[in-house]
């Protein structure tokens, strides 16, 4: 009797250690990537790197200011397009759990999530670049916003679904009309969840290269005009990393660090916000 219990205790200890080991194994790739990129890129980052635009081939120095500004603008415009649409769709899906339209909408969102980003780039090319007659940052934003949509929609839907029905009923029983119940009760109560979905979707698209290849296209000069081609960090990394010049490789490493830090900070912020603004139900 005693030995069998001892055996069980040891078994459970063994399982515990295996789990810890495997969990650690999952973290190793991330740490390795972080370590390698930061080691290769951190020395390249200085003030000139952040504020200068790239120099032509053969000249030393130069920075990534155009890509940094471009990334911020392209992501910003994508967010402006995707956030309202995504949140409204998410509200619709959470309010209409069983309707046929919601079923199809949910299916489309799931499929959209699985569409390769390069395909979305091609679609944006045919929808925006061809009709408008040229590459533009706006078309890149549209491509990225399509990538953001499913993440925002699903996270909004899942967040709002978790709100108890009693909350809706409390509002309806006070004679509050539907649109005000949504705007003043449902969305504020799910705000932290919705916001974290939005932040994660931004972190997700920040590093997307493929949709920008034939939409925003890239631009060696600093521009803030969204109807013109514009550079972005992933495009810059792609172009410079595939170039034959060593100093361009260095710029690519530096830009990688910036991009990585941006995504990391966004993720950490998301965590903090969800903890901070969580509404106690």
């Amino acid at each position: 009797m005693k030995t069998s219990i001892r055996l069980r205790i040891n078994k459970s200890k063994l399982v515990q250690w295996v789990i810890i080991l495997l969990a650690f194994a999952c973290v190793i790739p991330l740490l390795a990537i972080l370590f390698y990129i930061i080691k290769a890129g951190i020395t390249k980052i200085n003030w000139n790197f952040l504020t200068n635009i790239p120099k032509p081939v053969g000249e030393v120095g130069g920075g990534i200011a155009n890509a940094l500004v471009g990334s911020i603008i392209i992501i910003g415009v994508a967010a402006i397009i995707a956030i309202p649409l995504g949140i409204l769709s998410g509200v619709y899906l959470s309010e209409n759990k069983k309707s046929l339209l919601a079923y199809w909408c949910r299916l489309c969102v799931d499929v959209l999530q699985g569409v390769p980003s390069i395909v979305i780039g091609i679609v944006a090319y045919f929808w925006m670049v061809k009709p408008l007659g040229g590459f533009s940052a706006l078309s890149g934003s549209v491509a990225l916003s399509i990538m953001m949509l499913p993440i925002v929609i699903r996270s909004t839907e899942e967040t709002l679904k978790l709100l108890p029905d009693s909350l809706r009923e409390a509002a309806f029983a006070l004679g509050i009309p539907f649109h005000r119940v949504i705007l003043k009760v449902i969305i504020p109560c799910g705000f932290s969840g919705i916001l974290s979905g939005v932040m994660l979707s931004i972190a997700r698209i920040a590093g997307e290269t493929a949709p920008l290849l034939f939409t925003a296209f890239g631009n060696p000069y600093l521009t803030t005009n969204i109807t013109k081609p514009m550079h972005s960090l992933p495009l810059l990394i792609f172009n410079y990393a595939t170039s034959p010049y060593n100093d361009w490789h260095d710029l690519a490493w530096g830009a990688s660090v910036i991009l990585l830090v941006f995504v990391l900070v966004l993720n950490i912020f998301t965590k903090l916000i969800t903890q901070r603004w969580k509404i106690q139900l």
């Binding site: 009693s166 409390a170 029983a173 006070l174 004679g175 509050i176």
Partner: protein, 252 residues
């Protein structure tokens, strides 16, 4: 009956094909406390939710027949007006977690976009909280979130929220079933206070509660209104054998 506030005539309610409230006829007098009791699944909550048209919010839920508020069929009125005149308190306390205690009380105005003068607002908050005997407990923490209160306080806050709209009728759906005994007795005492201004309809699982707090009692069984009478009459001398069986605890 004089001074009838709520009057149902041949009222039926359904969930899909499921007939849950069957041909109910009832007249509810003003400024009385009416207890609605019956075993689980007898349709008492559904009936209550039909009075302020909350029933129809559930997909597949329908109803027919007449449900009059002061002689006007609520099903001919806009549901928003109905719900402004007929307040409701739910089984579980459900204060708005995103609003402070203060804002929870005036949530009906605030969320409806009704502008209140600051003096009026403070007066309504204080008056409503005093009506539910919560003012002394929360007057120093009005800016805290409503969800910080205890369960019993939250429930009284929800009653204050309903009272603040100055409705004619207050519906209570098993208002004390999620509360501890002390909170329950506080809420029960409130019913006596509140009936001077409002008509109270209380669904309860608890026969003792029905006997303690109500002037008249309605007994529902399998979706039918079996008996509706003075509470004293009902508990001492029930006319129907099913009521008798229920009161004596032969089924629950």
């Amino acid at each position: 009956m004089e001074n009838t506030v709520i009057k149902s005539k041949n009222f039926n309610a359904y969930f899909g094909d499921n007939h849950v409230v069957k041909n109910v006829n009832i007249e509810i007098p003003k400024n009385h406390v009416i207890a609605v009791m019956g075993p689980s699944g007898c349709g008492k909550t559904t009936y209550l939710r039909c009075i302020n048209r909350m029933h129809e919010l559930i997909p597949g839920a329908t109803s027919n027949g007449e449900m009059d508020l002061n002689g006007e069929n609520v099903y001919d009125m806009h549901p928003i007006f109905v719900r402004l005149k007929i307040g409701m308190v739910f089984q579980r306390p459900n204060p708005f977690p995103n609003l402070s205690i203060h804002d929870n009380v005036i949530a009906g105005y605030k969320l409806n976009g009704i502008k209140l003068h600051k003096d009026d607002r403070e007066r309504i908050v204080e008056h409503s909280l005093k009506r539910v005997a919560l003012w002394n407990e929360v007057k120093d923490s009005l800016t805290k979130k409503g969800s910080f209160l205890s369960g019993g306080q939250q429930q009284r806050l929800c009653i204050a929220r309903a009272v603040a709209m100055e409705p004619e009728v207050l519906l209570f759906d098993e208002p004390t079933s999620a509360l501890d005994p002390i909170s329950t007795s506080t809420v029960e005492e409130l019913f006596h206070e509140l009936k001077t201004n409002y008509t109270l309809i209380i669904v309860t699982h608890n026969m003792q509660q029905a006997a303690r707090v109500s002037d008249r009692t309605a007994f529902f069984y399998m979706g039918e209104l079996v008996e509706y009478d003075d509470t004293k009459q009902m508990f001492t001398n029930p006319k129907d054998s099913r009521t008798q069986n229920y009161i004596t605890g032969r089924f629950s």
